[in-house]
Amino acid sequence: MVESDVIEKMNPIFQDVFDDESIVVTPATVAADVEGWDSLAHIRLIVALEQAFAVRFSAAEASSFENVGQVVSSIIAKGGR
């Protein structure tokens, strides 16, 4: 997958996790840009992304992502599909 494929597949996941169909993320999106992106929502997001892309993040990764672009890079590096 390339970055645009991952982002395209990510958007409905974000919309579902944050219950907001208007969310459109970009590589530059950070937690502060998304209303409700707290620690519990972060857990739901990580779990949903792992299942959707058939990848597994480490605990260190999951707590250190600084923006959506870093998540996308990790998914691509792990062979997400």
């Binding site: 857990i43 739901r44 990580i46 779990v47 299942q51 993040f57």
Partner: protein, 145 residues
Amino acid sequence: MPLEGIGTSSPDSAGAVDCQSFGLEFTVSEADQQAFALLSGDYNPLHLDARFAEARGLSGAVVYGAMIVAKISQIVGMHLPGPSGIWSALKIDFRQPLYVGETAHVQIDTSHYSEATRTLSLKIAVTCGERLIASGSALATLHSR
């Protein structure tokens, strides 16, 4: 509310939990319904008065949906993942009514374990014989010392 639980273990595949699946049977009595009505303040006669419910096309008093959720809570809190876990999400669809006095089976299976967040994704099915009463999913996160 008599209970019977059965778990299956597979420690290698889930890692941090002892049990991958857990099921239990339960039967909700009229006394259980009355107790829940008192607790919740929901005195809807569809749940408490079989004649009232039957006059409206049902086959008897309908078990409160929250009573079914309570049995799911029992499994999550006591068995899968158990006392170190707490749930952070629940989605449930009620498909068909469960009637007071019927015995139902709640089955919860682990569909995914996220090591990064120490969170289990759980699939839930509640059946009564061949009838699917409810289905859904939940997330439960492990908290250890």
